[in-house]
C-alpha cells in the first residue's frame, strides 16, 4: 500500500456523503421541472468518434478534447458537450420525424482545460434539447425552463443574459468581412473590450456605419430603448430579424412575469460556433461563471443529415451547487426513512427480524454490531453525522 495511490488527477474529484445527496437532490429538482414540460430522457455514449465533436461541428476546440484510439485506429473522444451527441442521435433515429422532439439528459462531460486554474475537467451537466421547432415560443420555453429550474433549486437572485448571434453575423455579412477579421472582432466584443473593438475597426478602415453598429454591440448594458435604436441602425434584414426575435421572446416571457430575469446582451458571442440564433447564460452570486448556458442551433442537425431547427440549454450542476452553498441556500435532502439499528452480538437474530420488518415497510435500515467498549453516545453522534433520522438499540 502506498499513500500516493490516494490521489486523483487534477480537475476530477470524489463526491460523497451529504454533498452527493444534495447534488442528487438538485438534479431531481431540476428533472421534475424538465418532466413537467414533457422532456424525455435520452442517453448517449460517454465516448464517440472524433468527427462528432470536430471543428466543423463547432463545439469545444480540438486541443481541449480527451482523445484516444480504438483497435482499428479511429480517434475517439470523451464527450465534451452533450448537444452534438444528441443532435447525432436525433438525426439517426428520428430522421423522418417532423413533430417537435423533446429530450433531456444528465451525465458527465470532459474538457481538458488548462492546469492550475482551479477548474473541474469532469463536470456534471443536465439539460434539454428541443428539436424541430423554429419558433420564438420554443426559445421562450427553454428560457422559462431555466427560470423555473433555478427557482426549483431554491435560487432567488439570478439574471439571464440573452443575446442573438445572428445580429453579429448579419453585420459581418453586410460588411463582407472575411472569417479571420470576424474572429478578431468577436474576440474583442465578447471580452467587452470597447476600445479594442474601436481601435481594431479603425485600423481596418471600415465603413463608418458598420463601425457604429459594432460599437453599439460592445456596450455593457442594453435597454429596450437601445434595442429599438439598434434595430433602426441595423440596415440588414438578418440583424433586424435578430432584434425582433429577442423582443418577441421577451414579450412571451412577460406574460408569465418572467421578463424581469432577462437582460439583453448582443455582445454575448459564444465560442461554440453551432449557435445560429439566441444565446443565453444565467448568472448568480457566488460563482465566477455561468450556471446555465444555452442557445439556438438551427444548422447543427443538418451536419448529421437532418435539417431541424433546434434550441437547447444545459445546467452546470457543479457550479449551481457551489452557488447554492455560497448563498447559504439549503437543499432539502430526504432522510425521513433512515434508521440506524445498533444491536448486541447475542441479539443479532432478533435485530435482523426487526430490521427486515422495517425494510418491508419502506425504511432504510443500517445494521451495526455494538462494540462493547463504545457507549450509546458514540452511536448517537455517528447517526447524527450520517443523516440517520432514528436510532434503535437492540439488546
Amino acid at each position: 500500500m502506498s499513500i500516493s495511490l490516494l490521489h486523483t488527477p487534477d480537475g476530477v474529484r470524489d463526491i460523497y456523503g451529504r454533498e452527493l445527496l444534495e447534488k442528487e437532490q438538485v438534479g431531481k429538482n431540476l428533472m421534475t421541472v424538465l418532466r413537467r414540460y414533457g422532456y424525455k430522457n435520452i442517453q448517449t455514449p460517454t465516448f464517440e468518434f472524433f468527427d462528432v465533436f470536430s471543428k466543423d461541428i463547432g463545439t469545444v476546440p480540438s486541443k481541449d478534447l480527451y482523445k484516444f484510439f480504438d483497435k482499428e485506429g479511429n480517434t475517439l473522444v470523451l464527450k465534451p458537450d452533450f448537444t452534438p451527441a444528441i443532435a447525432r442521435c436525433a438525426a439517426k433515429y428520428f430522421m423522418e420525424e417532423e413533430v417537435p422532439l423533446r429530450f433531456c439528459y444528465e451525465g458527465n462531460s470532459f474538457v481538458n482545460t488548462s492546469e492550475l486554474q482551479g477548474k473541474l475537467k469532469e463536470t456534471t451537466q443536465m439539460g434539454i434539447e428541443l428539436i424541430n421547432d423554429s419558433g420564438p415560443e420554443a426559445d421562450a420555453e427553454a428560457l422559462s425552463l431555466v427560470i423555473e429550474g433555478l427557482k426549483a433549486c431554491g435560487l432567488k437572485d439570478f439574471q439571464i443574459s440573452v443575446g442573438n448571434s445572428s445580429y453579429f453575423k448579419g453585420i459581418c455579412e453586410a460588411a463582407n468581412l472575411d472569417e479571420e477579421t470576424q474572429l478578431e472582432i468577436k474576440a474583442h466584443i465578447s471580452s467587452k473590450n470597447y476600445f479594442g473593438t474601436r481601435e481594431f475597426l479603425k485600423n481596418k478602415g471600415l465603413d463608418k456605419d458598420i463601425v457604429a453598429q459594432f460599437e453599439a454591440i460592445s456596450k455593457l448594458y442594453i435597454s429596450d430603448t437601445d434595442m429599438e435604436e439598434m434595430m433602426k441602425k441595423a440596415n440588414n434584414p438578418k440583424s433586424v430579424g435578430a432584434v425582433e426575435r429577442l423582443l418577441a421572446i421577451k414579450a412571451l416571457l412577460a406574460k408569465r412575469g418572467y421578463d424581469k430575469y432577462i437582460s439583453f446582451d448582443l455582445g454575448m458571442l459564444s465560442k461554440h460556433n453551432y449557435y445560429t440564433g439566441i444565446i443565453f447564460k444565467a448568472y448568480t452570486y457566488g460563482v465566477g461563471d455561468a450556471i446555465v448556458k444555452g442557445g439556438r442551433y438551427d444548422g447543427l442537425l443538418g451536419k448529421f443529415g437532418k435539417e431541424a431547427p433546434s434550441v437547447g440549454c444545459v445546467f452546470l450542476i457543479d457550479e449551481l451547487q457551489t452557488a447554492l452553498k455560497r448563498q447559504n441556500i439549503s437543499v432539502d435532502v430526504d432522510t425521513e426513512e433512515n434508521i440506524l439499528m445498533v444491536y448486541a452480538e447475542e441479539a443479532y437474530e432478533n435485530a435482523l427480524e426487526q430490521a427486515n420488518d422495517l425494510r418491508s415497510q419502506g425504511k432504510n435500515v443500517t445494521m451495526m454490531k455494538k462494540n462493547t467498549e463504545k457507549d450509546a453516545d458514540y452511536y448517537t453522534s455517528y447517526g447524527e453525522k450520517n443523516e440517520m433520522k432514528e436510532i434503535i438499540f437492540v439488546k
Partner: protein
Amino acid sequence: MEENGKYLVFALCKGRLAFKTLELLEKIGIHCEEIKDKDSRKLVFVNEELKVKFFLAKGPDVPTYVEHGAADIGVVGSDIIMEENRRVYEVLDLGFGKCRMCVCGPESARELLQHRERIRVATKYPTIAKDYFFNVKNQTVDMIKLNGSVELGPIVGLSDVIVDIVETGGTLRENGLDVLEEICPLSARVIVNQVSMKMQNERIEQIINALRESIE
C-alpha cells in the same frame, strides 16, 4: 436584486499602478484612507460607507482573482491580461502606465528575425512571445522562461533575443541592446468579472462611465 448588502471588491496591482489607480478613483469619489497608511499590515482595506473593499495583489494574480470572482474589478497592465489569458471583461483603457512589448537584442540579431530561423527567445512572457513568433511571424522558436533581468539573456549568451516590456529603453541601451521589433503597445486596463458585470451591472457601469469621463 439585493445589491445593497454586497461589497464591491477591487483587486489592484501592487506598486506604482495601484497609487495611480487610487488617485483616479478618488477623483470619481471612491476613496479609501486605510490603504494609504504605509505602515499598515492589513491585506484587505474597507470603506464601510461606500461598501467597497480593496486588496493589493501581485500583477499576474489580479486577473486570476477577477476571473474567479474573488474580486469584482481589477486594474492591471495589458501585458498581464494578454499573458494570463483569463476569462474577464476588459472594459476600459486607463491610458497610464504606457509602454511597449518588444523584441529586443543586439543589432547583430536583427538578421535572425528575417528568415524564419529557429532562434532562442528569453522572456517573462512566454504566451505573448509564442503568439507573436508563431502566429504573426510564422517563426518557430525555442522559448526560455526567465523571471527577471531578462536583458541578461543575450548578453551572457543564453538567448539570441528577448521579448520584454520597454518603457524608455534606457536599460537596453546601457547594455548594448536595441528594440528590434514592436509587438504591441501596453497600458493599464480595467477588468471586470463576467458574473459581477451581470449581477451588479448598475453599480459597475456607473463606476466605469465615471472613470471613462474623468480620463477623456
